[in-house]
Symmetry: C2
Subunit: 179 residues, 2 copies
Amino acid sequence: MVDRWRKLSSQRLLETPYFNLRSDALQLPDSAVKAPYYIIERADAAMVFPLTPSQEVVMVRQYRPAIEQVELGLPAGLLEPGEEPAAAARRELLEESGYGGGEWERLLKLSSSPGLKANWIHLFLARDTQRLADPSPDEHERIEVELVPIDSLMDKVLAGEIVSSSGVAAILLALRKVF
Amino acid sequence: MVDRWRKLSSQRLLETPYFNLRSDALQLPDSAVKAPYYIIERADAAMVFPLTPSQEVVMVRQYRPAIEQVELGLPAGLLEPGEEPAAAARRELLEESGYGGGEWERLLKLSSSPGLKANWIHLFLARDTQRLADPSPDEHERIEVELVPIDSLMDKVLAGEIVSSSGVAAILLALRKVF
């Protein structure tokens, strides 16, 4: 039986506006001690698979400095303090693409890096979203909106054009629901 | 058109055996500057969807301190220096579960956190794997092997029993191949 580990101590190593880093000392069930165990604390995120009435998926293209490439992905972002996941997903969709409205359902809650990061990403499917406004990205976001016909999406995944683990999971979960 | 950003400077903030943290100053195509931009440097990872001849998936159950829960997931781990992704996936499968052999194919290469982490996870499908040895986990790994009938796997995903974004992506990609 795999049991929980007990936290013996915890030290905050770094605080940033985007995440904090802590180092724990952990006692395993058999009394061995694992220290340091590093954990990235980060706000939960929300991501949406937004469909238009003409069965196009509203996607966004943006440069990702960590992987040094332009990423085609689903609209997503971190929750603001006190914000509900569904509200954050609607806010990010509107900010990044100008789309909103429609019928929403929750897909799943996943952990992008269960060995390192202490946060969750909440995945949603939205049907019948419409363009409501111009995009209004954050100060340092440079985003291009791209409408991808749903029939061509799986080819893009298999060609490696969509690289986010959570994004690919959301796409495959949404496609199961829609077809 | 979304372009790459130019790195003006880069500072290593922290080194650990598991990842490094750096802070970059980045110039956007329109000359705005984003600084600091934090990036976690981590070795690439490999993950495998291992099927047995009787159509069971070899999975592992282990406690994950970051999300404070026991995780049911696919065998996976970080590449060692100089190691190829396929070799790392075979090594991790053998270490964590004692299974090996079979017919292997590459699924996809994904980024678990494109907004923060500079590494990739390489996903594989392995058919006809067999139990070859006793598991030999790392010093601080406490792992339970679980054989999950492939027909029940999707129910476990939809019930939220499998929480890793990369794991859910790998499962859905593998199920498309197998059925």
